[in-house]
């Protein structure tokens, strides 16, 4: 019961939030620019866009370590740094997909190693609920990846990005496989 209420409320917030933000972007003129770019670029090999929400202490540092270790990985990922996975609002994920991401990665510290004592526990607890909501909004959960990458795991980060890129490349671009998204956002 409570969950349903929560879901309804959540969705209305989503929609409202998106509406206002959308106006914001139109003002910046960015939307127009992106859309033209999209038409031009029809690469032979599909290059997926992956947005990674990572925490500052573990995964961001892990990605740094991949760098200092010179581990090569697919250039398809764009990192958005947050203080903690606890900060990640599911809206971020919706927004990323809306903006053209083909997959989203959420990655933080290992359970128990959270820089903020328990921020990532909260994040995990919430995901159980959000997962269903995201599914409801038409997001194929196979495009949302969760992982733990510690500051010591540069190699894991590189492998993860390569794996996700390969998976998503095989799955194809987001829009085609997701009519629901059109219904909601367009």
């Amino acid at each position: 019961m409570l969950k349903q209420q929560f879901a309804r409320r959540f969705l209305s917030i989503c929609a409202a939030g998106l509406r206002t933000r959308r106006a914001d972007w139109d003002r910046t003129g960015l939307m127009a620019e992106t859309e033209t770019k999209k038409v031009e670029a029809t690469p032979a090999v599909f290059e997926p866009k992956i947005v990674a929400f990572v925490c500052n202490w573990c995964t961001y540092a892990g990605a740094d370590l991949a760098g200092t270790s010179r581990l090569q990985y697919a250039p398809n990922v764009r990192i958005v740094k947050l203080p903690c996975t606890g900060r990640i609002d599911p809206l971020f994920i919706l927004k990323a997909f809306e903006g053209g991401a083909d997959a989203v990665l959420v990655s933080g510290c290992h359970p128990g190693d959270c820089h903020y004592t328990s921020g990532n526990y909260h994040a995990r607890r919430r995901w159980a609920i959000f997962r269903r909501l995201l599914e409801f909004t038409g997001i194929d959960m196979r495009r949302v990846f969760f992982s733990w990458v510690s500051a010591a795991e540069g190699a894991k980060f590189a492998d993860l990005i390569n794996r996700i890129t390969a998976d998503v490349r095989a799955a194809g671009p987001f829009e085609r496989t997701n009519p629901a998204r059109r219904r909601l956002w367009k």
Binding site: F6, T28, G29, D64, A66, C84, G86, T117, H122
Partner: protein, 658 residues
């Protein structure tokens, strides 16, 4: 109107090699809001910083984006420069073009494209940044050192001599760590006890040091400047305030056959014991697992023997809460347990021993009074085989790393053996000899040339134990290109150095990272080798990586100087990444209060002028908020936001990604 300046760094070749910096600069110049875009070879250098400062002033910049290395590297540098030019430092952001781009991608076109994206995102974010001001918090000028080995001792003494209070927490009954067990030490062969014990005594008598032996950290709260550490003082069953260390009690204890930890199982101790004669504090504890009184309720011999009435069988663990401003972790190392090496006997044979056992055999205060006698039958071994890299550099055992000190201690062992048994043979199987240190190579050469240690390059595949007690060591001489078998009386394995068991738990309590091998991670391998990612927590000694005494001591002194540096100011500046509640929209559902891991959100009553409560809302205590953002994500009415990572900022980043 935003006026953003973009500064792109080549980092010499590091970025420039894979990212076309000129192209990125050109693209940046066209981004909305960007009024200035330049690239330069070394942005962090003085002229680089000058360029930024000048542009801030001349172009009246309202925001700066530096595309360079990881912000973990130079964000403070550039923010300081911005502040010096009069720009609020939090209006500067960095794009990570090195660690996250040029170093991890080879394709120049794609890397350049990504670099443009990374810059664009930060330009967009910085336009939404607001001026922030660092938070000042008072510092508790007392340090805690966890672990009383040579590293912990040195750190404690340096801090104490710097005039600050130190609490030294040691989990065993005495400080001294592994160094107390060594016989003589490379590269000078001075007696370990002789150089260590004066320092141990100094710790015990230093007015600024509180020694908490036989104690362990139970839990930690708070953060740099103000940690609240709970320490468990383990039950000793001896009232140390009464005890004089006379030794009457252990002389009378009937349980005499407990393998001594200090002597690596080669000697025996009683149930009431002090680990070794020079122990500090020089007072006994009762080992509750073996004491008959504590397990079966009878005996009491020690209580009868003690004239001071110091024995207390009812003693219990005690929890003590301590406030400290900084912490030095110095929990040291252990030797890897070679019983996983089935081919070397899997720990079944008494005469296949580890390095500490050899140290105890060679030590004048050891169980054999310094005579090298093998454990099984007490005979003096005529041939001793030393096997290096046992467990280290061994992917199969899950340890790819080099333990760094075993080449040296093996050379020392061979030397000590040859000094004591002149006719004996010391055969060392090695893969490489790593003797990088002052006087180290000379030391190894001396072992070979003056003392006749026989070095054979190759690993040992198997040890057999013949019925007559000889150990047949099957090795190889890869330089001669042939297998080689040695009949030995004693085999010493140079086992890998591993972190202490339980060190992970401690790391988690303090929020310190550790690597896949379990060693604590330093904040930067070259430039911040004693700091950790947890502010105010520093590292010393072998808990960070295998280290010998000179290295452990240097790092300890460095950690102490970091602590003293931190304590040199009464207050601390902290990044102002904190949450704020919009009291107009807060519906006081208290979800954030429940979610905050730091208990930083409190109920707050808004009152009108007459003192009537108009509204109840949540309010963030700035002193406690750590800026994790959990509350922001959980608030359903969008009433909390996080400075530095506001919804606006994050959304602008996401949107810009396309």
């Amino acid at each position: 109107m935003a006026r953003v300046g973009v500064f792109l760094c080549h980092c010499g070749e590091n970025i420039g090699r894979t990212v076309d910096c000129a192209a990125v600069t050109a693209a940046a110049a066209k981004m909305p809001g960007v009024v200035h875009a330049v690239d330069y070879k070394y942005m962090c250098s003085d002229p680089g910083q000058q360029m930024i400062k000048q542009a801030i002033v001349e172009k009246k910049l309202t925001g700066v984006v530096v595309g360079a290395c990881s912000p973990r590297m130079h964000e403070p540098t550039f923010r300081r420069a911005a502040a010096e030019a009069g720009l609020n430092p939090f209006l500067l952001e960095m794009s990570n073009l090195r660690e996250h781009c040029s170093w991890v991608h080879e394709d120049r076109a794609k890397a350049t494209e990504k670099a443009v994206d990374l810059v664009r995102v930060m330009v967009e974010k910085v336009k939404h940044n607001r001026k922030l001001h660092s938070i000042r918090v008072p510092i508790e000028p007392t340090a805690m050192v966890v672990g009383g080995g040579i590293a912990g001792i040195q750190a404690a003494l340096d801090i104490a001599n710097g005039g600050k209070k130190v609490i030294l927490v040691e989990k065993s009954p005495s400080i001294g760590g592994h160094m107390a067990r060594l016989s003589e030490t490379f590269p000078t062969l001075d007696c370990s006890q002789c150089i260590l014990t004066p320092r141990m005594v100094e710790v015990a008598s230093h007015p600024n040091i509180t020694l908490m032996a036989y104690s362990e950290v139970e839990s930690v709260e708070g953060f740099v400047g103000n940690f609240d550490v709970t320490v468990r003082k383990k039950a000793r069953y001896v009232d140390w305030s009464k005890c004089t260390g006379c030794g009457d009690c252990w002389a009378k204890c009937p349980v005499k056959k407990i393998p001594s930890e200090f002597d690596a199982g080669l000697g025996k101790r009683t149930a009431i014991y002090r680990p070794f004669p020079q122990a500090v504090p020089n007072k006994p504890v009762i080992d509750q697992e073996h004491c008959i009184m504590l397990t079966k309720g009878k005996c009491g011999a020690c209580a009868k023997a003690c004239q001071r009435g110091a024995i207390n069988y009812k003693d219990q663990d005690e929890l003590v809460k301590i406030k400290v401003g900084a912490v030095v972790l110095a929990t040291g190392f252990d030797l890897w347990d070679h019983s996983a090496y089935g081919e070397y006997g899997g720990g079944r044979w008494a005469d296949v021993i580890d390095g500490f056992q050899f140290e105890r055999l060679a030590s004048a205060s050891g169980p054999t009074d310094g005579e090298i006698r093998r454990p099984s039958d007490g005979r003096i071994p005529q041939t001793v085989v030393f096997i290096q890299c046992c467990g280290s550099r061994d992917d199969k055992m899950g340890k790819a790393y080099c333990s760094k000190i075993c080449c040296m201690y093996t050379a020392k062992h061979a030397m000590l053996y040859k000094h004591k048994v002149h006719e004996g043979r010391a055969v060392i199987f090695y893969m490489d000899i790593r003797a990088g240190g002052k006087g180290y190579e000379e030391f190894v050469r001396r072992a070979i040339e003056a003392d006749g240690a026989e070095y054979v390059r190759g690993r040992v595949s198997r040890i057999y134990r013949r019925a007559d007690g000889k150990l047949i060591v099957k090795g190889a001489d890869t330089l001669a290109g042939r297998p080689m078998t040695v009949e030995a009386d004693l085999v010493v394995l140079a086992d890998a150095i591993v972190p202490r068991t339980g060190s992970e738990r401690l790391a988690q309590m303090f929020g310190v990272g550790y690597d896949t091998d379990g060693f604590y991670s330093e904040a930067h391998p070259k430039l911040r080798p004693v700091e950790t990612s947890a502010a105010g927590v520093f590292l010393a000694g072998a808990c960070q990586a295998p280290k010998d005494i000179p290295d452990a001591v240097s790092q300890a002194s460095a950690a102490a100087s970091k602590v003293l540096g931190l304590f040199s100011k009464p207050e601390l500046e902290r990044e102002p990444i904190i949450a704020r509640v919009n009291e107009n929209t807060c519906v006081h559902c208290r979800a954030c209060i429940a979610a905050c891991p730091y208990g930083a959100i409190e109920d707050f009553e808004i009152k009108d002028r007459k003192g009537n409560v108009v509204k109840r809302v949540a309010r963030v205590n700035e002193g406690l908020c750590q800026g994790c953002g959990t509350c922001v994500a959980i608030c359903r009415s969008n009433s909390i936001d996080l400075d530095g990572f506001t919804d606006e900022q994050v959304f602008s980043e996401i949107v810009t990604l396309e």
